[in-house]
């Protein structure tokens, strides 16, 4: 009963926010008709695996409608279920408004999930750990607003990559895990993993999160419950091998595509090594693990885009209480800002003006990744420092030094 009440309040309190955010997006869509196509073409927003154009281009759709594998020809690299979705939509070149509304709705759904995550207070106080600073936190309203009005999120929404569906699914998985709704959570996570492989790596912290939230000290059923959750998730994600990036890799007809997928596979390896390490070290704070992992994905996943960054940045405000412990906030902000502006400028010099070369853009992607990794490591430091001060109260406020 109280849960229902809370969610009701959520919708009532955030209705205004959502309306404004939706209005802003639709305004941008309609007032600047060239903008969506411009942003769709930007490499920072849509990658070969998330591009809206490749999803809706006539060639892929006609392949699909004529019962030919859409993966033929190396244009389409995305999950198969997206195709029926987009072929259900009216042709985006003539009736773009339907796609606009769809993407706006997905953003609002993500914001709603984020609202629930922030309101749960999991960032500051989990089952096993309660931060001494947990009083200092932002309400769900602020967190959702930060997500909805983040320029990266807006640019992503207007560029319409398919990664917004992944974002939405991940946020819902977290929100459902927090409300103890294991089945829905795992379903969402499987959907995210189905759309793009890497959210599968979020499974361990997600399971721990759900376990912590449904933990009942009177009826301990720990191992069995954990095992059950894992099987549930794995049997659902079992769908993936015949889908998405992996579905077409055995096909000998798409040699370039298979090269790409194996490339992606080898890139997935270093990322996956972070999952167990972080999960074990930050066992007490599973939401922090998920956030840090999302940050690591945004840096290291193959074909990263600003959609991944905006997902990571959307969860960071849940850790408002450790913000004073961040050491490089100014440096991080400056580096990310510089990357945001210099990236397109150097891309322009390289591709359009012809007066720069690929190294310009490559260098700036390194700077961008540096900024993000600073934020990830700084956040990890702050979370650990917060834990450490609980263990060693006498060290509160003292400067520490890495030896």
């Amino acid at each position: 009963m109280p849960k229902d009440k809370m969610s009701f309040q959520a919708t009532a309190g955030t209705a205004g926010l959502f309306v404004v955010a939706a209005a802003l997006r639709l305004l941008l869509f309609t007032a600047f008709p060239g903008l969506p196509n411009l942003l769709t073409g930007r490499v920072e927003i849509s990658t070969p695996v998330t591009s809206f154009k490749r999803c809706t281009c006539r060639r892929v759709c006609s392949l699909y409608n004529h019962n030919v594998s859409p993966y033929d020809g190396g244009v389409y690299h995305q999950a198969p279920l997206l195709l029926p979705l987009f072929s259900l939509l009216p042709d985006p070149s003539t009736y773009p408004i339907f796609a606009y509304i769809l993407y706006t709705l997905v953003d609002l759904l993500s914001a709603n999930a984020l609202y629930k995550i922030a309101e749960s207070g999991e960032g500051g106080a989990s089952r096993l750990y309660s931060s001494p600073r947990k009083e200092k936190r932002w309400s769900g309203y602020v967190v959702a607003a930060l997500f909805l009005f983040n320029p990266f999120t807006i640019a992503t929404c207007i560029g319409r990559p398919t990664s917004v569906f992944t974002t939405c699914a991940i946020l819902h998985a977290v929100a459902k895990a927090l409300s103890g709704n294991i089945f829905t959570s795992m379903l969402s996570l499987s959907f995210a993993a189905y759309l793009s492989m890497y959210p599968l790596l979020l499974l361990p912290p997600m399971v721990i999160l759900a376990y912590d939230r449904t933990y009942n000290p009177k009826a301990p059923k720990s191992l069995a419950q954990l095992a059950g959750m894992c099987t549930l998730a794995l049997t659902l994600t079992d769908l993936t091998p015949n889908a998405g990036l992996w579905g077409y890799s055995p096909s000998p007809r798409c040699s370039t595509a298979s090269v790409r997928s194996s490339f992606g596979f080898f890139w997935l390896h270093p990322i996956s090594s972070y999952t167990p390490a972080l999960t074990i070290r930050l066992r007490q704070q599973p939401l922090a693990v998920i956030t840090l992992l999302l940050g690591i994905f945004a840096i290291f996943k193959p074909y990263p885009s600003i959609a991944d960054t905006s997902l990571f940045l959307s969860l960071v405000p849940c850790f408002r209480h450790v913000f004073p412990l961040l050491r490089y906030s100014f440096v991080t902000a400056s580096v990310v800002l510089y990357g945001t502006f210099l990236g397109p400028a150097f891309y322009h010099l390289w591709i359009y003006a012809g007066s720069g070369n690929a190294n310009f853009f490559y260098a700036i992607t390194l700077v961008w990744s540096l900024g993000l990794s600073l934020l990830v490591s700084d956040l990890a430091f702050a979370v650990l420092r917060d834990e450490w001060e609980v263990e060693r109260p006498e060290m509160r406020g003292k400067e520490i030094r890495q030896i």
Binding site: P324, L325, V331, L337, L342, A353, G354, S355, I400, I403
Partner: protein, 903 residues
């Protein structure tokens, strides 16, 4: 062992300060001798190096001087880095006197003599050596022998390697990696070092008794700073027994570190008592350059000022001979001026006929003209296309129809093309009668030749501003099909374009080359060089740039020429029909015949023919030469590497102030806060804030939490505010532009006062919040400008220069006079005021400005309208982003800066 993690600047500093006397003297000697070696009057190196063949009794001093003399800075620096720690160990072990005796005596002469004997007697060669590396290897082998006694082997896999071999390995590695090192010299040093380390050379050390006596008599310990006494020396550096060595070593860094922290001055205490709870500590930034010492905290404004001064001075240095370069043809395939041009003879009659026909068309409508031109093209046997376009900016409609013809290359496959543009009217609106006639005659002439490997496209737009833009946009399929029609026929990728602008009737003296593109992009320098080369070298006609028709190639003219180029580049508008090509990476220039001379149309035709022959030679797109350059004479330029620092320095000055302000806001300021609180007290309103401020002022400069919401929202809000005037001026009708601009300027002058009043009455921003506001807007400004500097150097430089006073904005609550003075200065530099002033100034220029705005001699009111119209036209048609920079970079920064001053 020291490693990267344990490195700290504090310890490094204290290490340097504790270096003993002899080491210091040697370092000093090396540095001084290097400095002496810079001059060229006296060859120090020849005097002091160890040259085996020149060794005799009178040149024996060389055996002592050679280690102190180095080849160059790098040599000296590397040797110093290697030598200092080793020598410091030696000295603190043996004492200063002993070290001096040993290093001016046997430890230098023995290897030197050995080297000379080996060179002269055995190898019979004569390789001079110099530098302290022999000492380095000597000391290194002494250490290696000592290590060998404690720790005889290190294990690689299963192989045990004796540790005494390390200097030998190092010598091999050095010989392999670094060119022109003396392997033999190093070996001599190593050999002596082994002998000394094993104790065979103990006998040469001066007796301790004598040393003690000297030391006692002269009271050296009392007189000399950093002197290491003979008595202080110990056997082994860290204790008597070798077994204590490792543990002693391990503890020592920690101990020294603690020492420094406790005996350091009060400034260090601040760093130890840093509260991690509030305020992010920003160790990175502070360690980089600010620190917490009050002296350093005051430095950033001076650094900023220095950067500005250096940045501006840099620009004024560029026209000098030493900083600019002569132009050269970089792409060999161009071969400008190497072919004979045949345009002439009977073609002159053809040209005269065309001129006559075109003259008859002068007052016809666009469609009638194009019908006639199409007929002419078809009669030459060319393919013809026509294209409509309609642009609407500032309430005016610019419409027209382009006509163009494609000459298919006899030897090409239609994958590449060169464009010849002859607009019906030039940018000033004059009838381009001769230019068109030349273009038609040339096309007819080109048709006869079989050597073209690229298609030639002749484009005749009705005007020089919108027509070419529409054509190029449509050629690259990036046009808005509601305004610009598709092209019916196309050819291959455009390799280059040449526009002819020849409205005058008389013969001409030389050609004026116009090269600025939209948004300050420039064509490849090779193209300009080719045209200059053919015009001056082959045709014997003068050529000029930037309306500098009489250029004497002295500093003043070069500077004027460069500044004109920068203003044109900064404005970013199209100055000729060629400008629209450049954003598509099609190198293009406009050729304008100027002056009264003896060259006729045929000469111009031959110039175009020669240039086309050069472009025809190209195997790939022009890429060899520079895309970023400033020309200061037709044959002198500076490239981006030389001029970019000046804009970057100006952009960096904003960033440095921003970072320093951010760091400052993290700590309460003892002195300032106290003063301020007194001031507040003197005023009537002694409120809770002041008391709190006073309380914090009593304590040590403790970290404080930053209040970010107000600064962030103010800066973001002002940033978005800039879009309002941008929108207004790009959509207002032409008649309203000038009045609107005056209104907006007046409003923007009043805006900071209103905002400041609003802030002070509603939020009462603290000093810290004002600092944060300044920090944020300066950070944004620095970022925008450094990004812009890579795209359009001149615009970034000009905006940066006009915005420099914003670096020094601070709230001046104490001195109202300063506040009003600064605010008045900023008002003068208000973007609107600057544009009004510039427009008025431009009306009085004597036709030499080269800005092409056509504002010379009109009323100021009209001038403002024209400038704004050009801005709106550029934004809508050319995709010129100058208005965006103006309203969304400069304007917001100015508003926020003025608010801070008034705060």
């Amino acid at each position: 062992m020291p490693n990267v993690q344990s490195f700290s600047t504090l310890r490094a500093r204290s290490y340097v300060f504790r270096l003993p006397l002899f080491t210091r003297l040697m370092v000093l000697a090396i540095v001084v001798l290097w400095l002496v070696g810079i001059q060229s009057a006296w060859d120090l190196r020849k005097w002091g190096a160890l040259i085996p063949d020149e060794m005799n009794f009178f040149t024996a001093y060389r055996m002592n001087t050679f280690p102190l003399i180095h080849l160059n800075l790098l040599h000296a620096l590397l040797n110093l880095l290697a030598l200092t720690p080793l020598l410091e160990r030696f000295e603190s072990e043996y004492g200063t006197l002993t070290s001096a005796a040993m290093f001016f005596g046997p430890l230098t002469t023995i290897p030197a003599v050995a080297y000379v004997i080996l060179e002269r007697v055995i190898f019979r060669v004569n390789t001079p050596v110099m530098g302290a590396s022999m000492w380095v290897f000597l000391l290194f082998s002494v250490e290696a022998v000592r290590t060998y006694k404690i720790n005889p082997y290190f294990v690689i896999g299963t192989v045990q390697v004796p540790t005494w071999t390390t200097p030998l390995v190092m010598a091999f590695v050095t010989a392999a990696l670094i060119p022109s090192t003396s392997f033999l010299g190093h070996l001599c040093g190593i050999g002596t070092g082994y002998l000394f380390g094993l104790g065979y050379l103990k006998f040469i050390a001066p007796p301790e008794k004598i040393l003690r006596w000297i030391e006692g008599k002269l009271n050296l310990l009392g007189r000399l700073p950093h002197y290491v006494s003979v008595d202080q020396k110990t056997y082994g550096r860290f204790g008597v027994l070798p077994s204590n060595n490792s543990s002693g070593k391990r503890i020592s860094p920690a101990l020294t570190h603690i020492d420094q922290l406790t005996d350091g001055s009060g400034t260090y205490k601040g760093s130890t008592s840093l509260s991690g709870m509030v305020g992010s500590t920003q160790r990175l930034a502070s360690a980089l350059f600010v620190g917490r010492s009050p002296k350093l905290q005051k430095a950033p404004p001076y650094i900023s000022l220095l950067l500005i001064v250096v940045g501006v001075a840099w620009l004024f240095m560029l026209p000098m001979n030493d900083y600019s370069r002569r132009t050269y043809i970089s792409e060999n395939a161009l071969l400008p001026g190497q072919v004979h041009t045949y345009f002439g003879g009977s073609d002159q009659n053809v040209l005269r006929a065309y001129r006559h026909e075109i003259g008859a068309l002068e007052n016809k409508t666009n469609t009638e003209v194009n019908d006639k031109l199409e007929h002419m093209f078809r009669s030459m046997g060319l393919k013809v296309g026509r294209q409509n376009y309609t642009y609407t900016t500032s309430g005016n409609t610019v419409a027209g129809e382009n006509v163009y013809a494609i000459l298919q290359a006899p030897r090409g496959d239609a994958t590449e093309a060169i464009v010849l543009v002859a607009a019906w009217r030039n940018v000033k609106g004059e009838f381009n009668r001769n230019g068109l006639a030349v273009a038609l005659a040339l096309t007819r002439y080109f048709k006869r030749w079989s050597l073209w490997s690229k298609d030639i496209i002749l484009v005749v737009p009705p005007d020089s501003r919108a027509g070419t833009q529409a054509w190029v946009d449509a050629y690259h399929d990036s046009h808005d099909s509601r305004r610009v029609a598709d092209l019916p026929i196309k050819s291959g990728a455009l390799q280059g374009a040449l526009a002819i602008d020849y409205p005058q009737e008389e013969r001409f003296e030389g050609v004026h080359i116009v090269y600025d593109g939209v948004n300050g992009q420039l064509p490849n320098l090779d193209l300009i060089n080719s045209v200059t080369n053919i015009a001056s070298g082959q045709m014997g006609m003068g050529s000029s740039i930037q309306h500098m028709f009489h250029h004497n190639d002295q500093y003043r003219d070069r500077l004027t020429c460069m500044l004109r180029g920068m203003v044109n580049q900064g404005l970013g508008h199209a100055v000729g029909p060629h400008s629209s090509f450049i954003p598509y990476h099609v190198d293009a220039v406009t050729i304008q015949p100027v002056g009264q001379g003896w060259h006729d149309e045929m000469g111009l035709g031959r110039l175009v023919e020669g240039t086309f022959r050069s472009l025809n030679n190209l195997l790939e797109h022009l890429h060899q030469s520079f895309f970023f350059y400033l020309l200061m004479q037709k044959e002198r330029f500076v490239s981006i590497g030389t001029y970019l620092p000046s804009a970057m320095l100006i952009a960096a000055n904003f960033t440095i102030t921003a970072i320093s302000l951010w760091v400052k806001t993290g700590y309460g300021r003892k002195a300032d806060t106290a003063k301020e609180s007194k001031d507040i007290k003197e005023k009537k309103g002694v409120d809770a804030d002041a008391k709190k401020a006073e309380q914090t002022a009593e304590e040590a400069p403790a970290p404080v939490e930053r209040e970010l919401y107000l600064p962030l929202s103010l800066v973001t809000g002002c940033q978005f505010l800039g879009f309002v005037p941008l929108f207004v001026f790009n959509h207002a009708p032409a008649s309203l532009l000038a009045p609107l601009f005056v209104v907006v300027t007046l409003l923007s002058l009043a805006l900071p006062h209103a905002l400041s009043f609003f802030l002070v009455t509603t939020y009462r921003p603290t000093h810290q919040q004002y600092q944060l506001i300044t920090s944020f807007f300066l950070l944004l400004l620095g970022m925008f400008l450094s990004t812009l500097a890579t795209l359009n150097f001149s615009l970034a430089f000009l905006v940066g220069l006009l915005a420099t006073p914003l670096t020094f904005v601070r709230p001046f609550p104490k001195v109202p006079a300063a506040q009003y003075a600064y605010s008045a200065l900023l008002s003068l530099l208000n973007p609107g005021v600057v544009v009004l002033g510039a427009a008025v100034a431009a009306t009085t220029l004597h036709g030499r400005s080269g800005l092409g705005l056509g504002v010379v001699g009109v009323s100021p009111w009209e001038a403002v309208r024209k400038v704004l119209e050009e801005g709106a036209f550029g934004w809508g048609v050319w995709g010129m982003y100058t208005p965006l920079i103006f309203w969304c970079v400069w304007f917001p920064a100015w508003v926020v800066g003025s608010v801070v001053v008034l705060g």
